[in-house]
């Protein structure tokens, strides 16, 4: 799997948005997209997930343009910062609905419930769950179709210490299973613990692309203190 981002832009205002950004992601990479608030991290991931359309530029997954949504939709899984689940309904219902739409067998739901320790909560309404549990359901739902590319937007935002470690473990496991992962973060310990590559955005521009070791030794780390 290869993802090519070529000159994508998305301008909100003069100082906010994403200026032309280009890079390539190879199979098995675990990339931390870092930057301050408003740097364009989430915009980049949302464009890669098809949530936002870029003003210009292209994103291709294995040579297929992201505009061809139906051809790439099963290859890209996106976990947003705030879980977007049908809150009125149970965990199982949420998974079943998406299993229907992904055309995956219901046995996969059992696997997800087991894998994410959600069996005791299968009949609980999502609105009654803690943020950590919701995040687990959201990740589980994304994994239903087993996409090779996973995008996490601030995956540990608002989670307690225990749940944060749980998410780290999951991301490492997914990476160990051969998935390509991009996640946004502004926590240095997250970058150190997880990433194999760091892409830094500042005011919409890509200002760094390299290994975590190089990043922590660079002036940027000193200057922007992330």
């Amino acid at each position: 799997m290869q993802i090519k981002i070529e000159n994508i832009t998305r301008i909100y205002t003069e100082s906010r948005g994403l200026q032309p950004v280009s890079f390539t992601v190879e199979k098995g990479e675990l990339i931390a997209v870092i930057g301050h608030n408003g740097a364009g991290k989430s915009t980049l991931l949302k464009i890669m997930a098809g949530w936002l359309l870029p003003d210009s530029g292209t994103v291709t997954v294995d040579g297929i343009n992201l505009k061809n949504r139906l051809a790439v939709v099963k290859k890209v899984g996106f976990v947003p910062e705030t879980p977007n689940l049908f809150e009125f309904f149970s965990v199982e219902y949420n998974l079943k609905l998406f299993a229907h739409l992904f055309h995956v067998p219901f046995v996969r739901i059992e696997e997800i419930l087991r894998e994410f320790n959600l069996l005791p909560f299968r009949n609980s309404k999502v609105q009654d769950l803690s943020k950590g549990l919701r995040q687990r359901v959201s990740i589980g739902r994304t994994l239903l179709a087993d996409p090779p590319l996973l995008l996490f937007d601030e995956p540990t935002s608002g989670l307690d210490f225990e749940m944060t470690n749980e998410v780290y473990r999951m991301i490492r496991d997914f990476h160990g299973a051969g998935k390509t992962i991009l996640f946004t973060s502004h926590r240095s310990e997250e970058i150190k613990t997880l990433a194999t590559r760091v892409i830094m955005l500042h005011q919409g521009h890509m200002v760094f692309d390299g290994s975590p070791q190089d990043y922590f030794q660079s002036d940027l780390y000193e200057k922007l203190s992330i």
């Binding site: 098809g50 139906l70 939709v73 099963k74 977007n84 009125f88 998406f98 992904f102 055309h103 179709a145």
Partner: protein, 342 residues
Amino acid sequence: MIRNIITLTLNDLAIAFKNKTIFLIIFIPLFVFFSLKLVDRSATDVKKITIGLIQSEAYAPVILHTITSAGNIFTVSRVSGEEEGKRWLREKKIDGLLVRSEQDTGSVALVVLKKESLQTLSIVESFSALQRGTEGKSINWISGITPIQQGGIQKQTLPTWILMVVLLVGFIIMPAQVAEEKEKKLLLALLQTPMREIEWLGAKVLSGMTLILTAVLFLHLLGQFNPGNIPGYGAFIVVGSFCFSSYGILLGFLCRNQASARTLGILFYLPHLLPSALSDFSQKLTMVAPLLPSYQLYEPIKAILLDEGRLSNLSLEWFYLLAVGLVTLLFSYMLMKKRWLM
């Protein structure tokens, strides 16, 4: 594709149940039912009566003379024939039409829009008073009353209630539901699956139509109203529910959140409801209302329920509603493709 549409439709109906929309659907027909039981029949001020006379008709001279002399009660309009007279009645250009009675040449038959109406009562009372003043006897000049629209007052107000239900789902419920899915990023989550945009739109239209059809059916069951021409009536309810569900979805796409969708919905709801529903009472509104799609639903429903109208005579209105539904659906599709305000 069909499986996805069914799955999404069931999901939308489940949401309607969970977010209490379904209670609204049940409450409105109940409200309508009890309101109809309490319809106020008290009289209000009666204006001057416009009476239609057929030019070639040989009316009894005494009746003709009395009517034309009573300028403070009657305004006389001449029509070329009975058909034109009935058309004028429907267009509210006249309040009643006099035709020669077949039983008695000394009396007339009165043709009115509705038998149980203030106008009819007023015409009959005025005739009785004039007759007593002229002849001093009590044999009725009016030998019979023929209404164009059948049914009692409950049935006559039914088209208004049906329009209200259709517009409520179309302009209040559908925009809010679409905006909620956008606001909570649920639509974006669904677009992360191999579901096509048109499937989602199809499911939304179907769920809107289901809500409307349920409410209309419930209204008929409670009131025991027989629609008469069922195929024609069904065709209009189906196309009307399609048109206003699509219209509502488009309004939802124009809003970022539920609150703005509700506001926009009400802004569309009242101007569509009131001119159409009140066109029966106002000449001015009768001229303006045809510009609205709601009137193109209201008038055919009224014609079918009260006037024994047929679908073949109303095909223009039917295609107009279908076209509005398709155009609004197309705009929604374009906005969805652009991820508008998502």
